[in-house]
Symmetry: C2
Subunit: 384 residues, 2 copies
C-alpha cells in the first residue's frame, strides 16, 4: 500500500475538471455583474449565463434550451420539480419506490399534507423498478424515477417508466442527480417532462444544479422574488458556479465515453480486488455492466458495522462512505437495502465506493488491499 490517500466518496463531493477550475478562476477577479444589469458588464454576464444554459441543455440532448432553469443544486432541483408540479396541479398521485432519496421523500410527504396520494413502485433484488403490474390512479399523476440509485448504483430503465407514465396519463420526472453523465440519457428520447441535475456530481462546482422543464408541463416555481431565470427561480444568479457547470457539461458531451470507460475500469478492478481478497463480502445492487452505474460500488462486509469500518478504512488512507449516501435521522438501515431484501446484518454493513473524474484505475488494487487491511483491523479489534 502506498502512503497516498485514495478518495472514493466522489458522489458526496469530488474534484472539479481542470477546465472548470480555469473558467471559474476568471470569476474570482474583477467585477461580478449580474445578468440582469442593462449595462455592458450585465450583458456580458448574460452572455455567459446563456452560453452555460446552452451547454447544459446540449449535454442533456434537449432541443428546448430555455426549458433549463439553473438552481443551487440537486436537492433544490428535486424539491422544485415535485413540489412545483404539486403546486400547479393542486391534487394528484405520485408514483415512486420506497427506496428514494430523502429529498424526494420529503417533497412527496409535503404534498401528502395537501391531500396528494402516492403509489409505491415495487423493486426487484437488484433495485430495478417494476412498472408492470402497478395500480393506476385516475387523478393527475407524476411518475418519479431516478436515473441511477444513490445507494445501489442501479440504473433504471427510463423507457419502462415512460411507458407506464403514458399509460397512466402522468408526467415523467427523471431525477438524474445521480447517474447523469455516467449513464446514457437523452432528454428528447426519454420523453421526460422534468429532469433534475446536480452540477458537482458532473465534475462541476458545488452550488450548481438545474431543472429542465418540458414546455407545457404544469409547474410553479419554488423560490419567488426577482425575475431571474424567466421568473422560474428567483435570486441573484450564481454565475461563477453556473459557468463552471456549463464547462463540466461540455466536457461530458465531448469525452463522456472516455469518462465512462475509465470509471468502468476502476470499478472492475476495485470490485474484483475486493471480491477476491475479502471473505464474507457481497456486492449489492446489479452486477457490473449496463445495469449498474460505472462510478458506483456498494459492498457489505458481513458482521461489521459500516460506520466503524469506514473509520478504520479512513485510518488506512481510504476515504469511503459508510452506510447510505444520504439518510435521515430515523433511518437505521438504508431503505434501499430493505427494499431489495438484503439481510439486516448486510444492510448495517454497507460501504459505498464512488469513483470520480480522474480516479486512477491503477490505484484500485491498492484500494482493495486497504479494504483487506481495514476489515482485518476491525475484526481484530472486535475479537480482542
Amino acid at each position: 500500500m502506498s502512503s497516498e490517500r485514495i478518495y472514493l466518496d466522489h458522489a458526496a463531493g469530488g474534484v472539479l475538471f481542470p477546465s472548470v477550475q480555469r473558467e471559474m478562476l476568471r470569476y474570482l477577479v474583477g467585477v461580478h455583474a449580474s445578468p440582469g444589469g442593462g449595462h455592458r458588464e450585465g450583458r456580458e454576464a448574460r452572455e455567459e449565463l446563456e452560453r452555460a444554459r446552452e451547454r447544459v441543455a446540449s449535454f442533456l440532448g434537449a432541443k428546448d434550451t430555455e426549458g433549463l432553469v439553473f438552481m443551487s443544486g440537486g436537492t433544490e432541483a428535486i424539491q422544485s420539480a415535485i413540489r412545483g408540479w404539486g403546486e400547479a396541479v393542486q391534487n394528484g398521485t405520485i408514483y415512486l419506490s420506497e427506496m428514494e432519496h430523502p429529498a424526494v421523500e420529503s417533497a412527496v410527504r409535503a404534498l401528502g399534507k395537501k391531500g396528494f396520494t402516492w403509489v409505491r413502485v415495487p423493486v426487484d433484488g437488484e433495485g430495478r423498478l417494476q412498472w408492470g403490474e402497478l395500480r393506476i390512479e385516475k387523478e393527475k399523476g407524476l411518475v418519479y424515477v431516478h436515473l441511477a440509485h444513490h445507494d445501489l448504483g442501479t440504473v433504471q430503465n427510463i423507457a419502462d417508466a415512460r411507458k407506464f407514465a403514458e399509460k397512466a396519463g402522468a408526467k415523467l420526472f427523471v431525477d438524474a442527480t445521480h447517474g447523469a453523465g455516467w449513464v446514457s440519457f437523452e432528454v428528447e428520447k426519454s420523453g421526460a417532462d422534468l429532469v433534475a441535475l446536480s452540477g458537482h456530481r458532473l465534475g462541476g462546482p458545488k452550488g450548481s444544479g438545474a431543472l429542465w422543464i418540458r414546455s407545457g408541463t404544469p409547474w410553479a416555481p419554488l423560490l419567488e422574488g426577482g425575475r431571474q431565470e424567466m421568473d422560474r427561480r428567483a435570486g441573484t444568479e450564481n454565475l461563477p458556479a453556473i459557468v463552471g457547470f456549463g464547462v463540466a457539461a461540455e466536457e461530458w458531451k465531448k469525452k463522456g465515453d472516455d469518462f465512462r470507460k475509465d470509471a468502468a475500469r476502476s470499478q472492475k478492478e476495485l470490485a474484483e480486488g475486493i471480491l477476491k481478497k475479502v471473505p464474507n463480502t457481497k456486492l449489492h445492487g446489479p452486477e457490473l455492466g449496463l445495469r449498474r452505474s460505472p462510478n458506483h460500488l456498494a459492498f457489505s462486509f458481513a458482521g461489521l458495522e459500516a460506520e466503524s469500518l469506514a473509520l478504520v478504512l479512513d485510518r488506512v488512507g481510504l476515504a469511503v462512505r459508510g452506510g447510505s449516501g444520504c439518510v435521515t435521522r430515523e433511518m437505521k438501515i438504508p431503505p434501499a437495502m430493505r427494499a431489495i431484501g438484503a439481510k439486516p446484518e448486510e444492510a448495517r454493513a454497507l460501504i459505498l465506493f464512488t469513483i470520480g473524474i480522474g480516479t486512477e484505475s491503477k490505484l484500485m488494487a491498492d484500494a482493495a488491499d486497504r479494504v483487506v487491511e481495514g476489515v482485518k483491523r476491525l475484526q481484530q479489534a472486535l475479537e480482542a
Copy 2:
C-alpha cells in the same frame, strides 16, 4: 472624463474581497469533500464549514453560532424565513410595508393563500416605517423589517420595529440582505428572531447567504432532504461559497468602519457632483447621513425615462441601474416610489447608484460628469 469604466451597480453584483478570492482559490483545486463524510477529507471540510459559521455569526454579533444556517443567497434566506415561520405557526399575521422586495411580497402572498393575513406598515416621505399607530392583530404575528431599503437606501429603526413586535407579541424578522455591513446592526441588541443575509452584497461570493434563527423561534425548513445544516437546509453544502462568505464577514468585522467611511466619502462626492451639475434632479429617500445607507444613492432625472438613461450612461462608461433594483413584471413603477409619494414622472426616472468595496471616491467627480453627459445626450436625442 477618463476612458475607464465606472461600475456603480454593486448591489446587483459587485467585486469580491481579495482575501475572499484567495481563500476560494484553494477550493478550486484538489478534493472537494463534503462536510458530511466521516473521513479525513470530510472532517477537514466540516472544520472549514464551522469556521465560516463562527465568522458570520460573529459578524452579526450573535452569541448563538448554531443559529446560523447557510443558504444559497438572500432570496432563499428571505423566503425561508417567512414561509418557514408560516409553516411552523400555520396561521397568523405579517406586518410589512407596501414597498418591499418581490422576494418578500411573494412569500407573504404564498402564506396568504393558506389563510394568513397581513397589515401594511405606513411609510413617511423618506421611506421610514411608521410603527406608531399600527393596528395589532390578536393572531400570531411576524414583523418584517428591512435593514436598508433596496431602492431608497433608507435605514430603518430596528428598535422601533422591535418595540412594536413586543407590543404585538410577534416575532421580528430583520431582512439585512440590503444594509448588512453598511449599516450598524447587532443581532443580540436588535432583539431579532430571524435575520437574513446575502453574501455577495458583503463582498462575498454569489450563491452564498444565511438565515440566523434565534433558538426557540417557530420555524420549519424550506428545502428538505439530506441532513446538512442540522436538518435546516438540505443539499450538499456549497463550501467554496460558504468559506468565501466567512472571510468576507471577517473583513467587515475587522474593517467595517473603514468600509463605511470610504463608501460615505464616495456617496458624498457623487451626490454633490450630481446635485451641483445636473438640473432637475432629485435625491429620493433620506438625505446623506445615518438615515441613509452609505453605499446607496437614488436619483430621479425629471422628464427622462430611467432605462433609456441607464443605457446612455452605459455608453459613456457608467454602469448603473435604471429603475428599481428588483421589479416584477407587473410593476411599471417601483412600489417604493409610490409609497413615499414621489410623482409618477420621478418614479419612472429613478436611477440607482450603488457603491461597493473598492469604489474609489476620486472617480466620483468623473462619474458625476458622465451623468451630466448622459443626461445631455438623452435630452438632445429626445429633442432631435
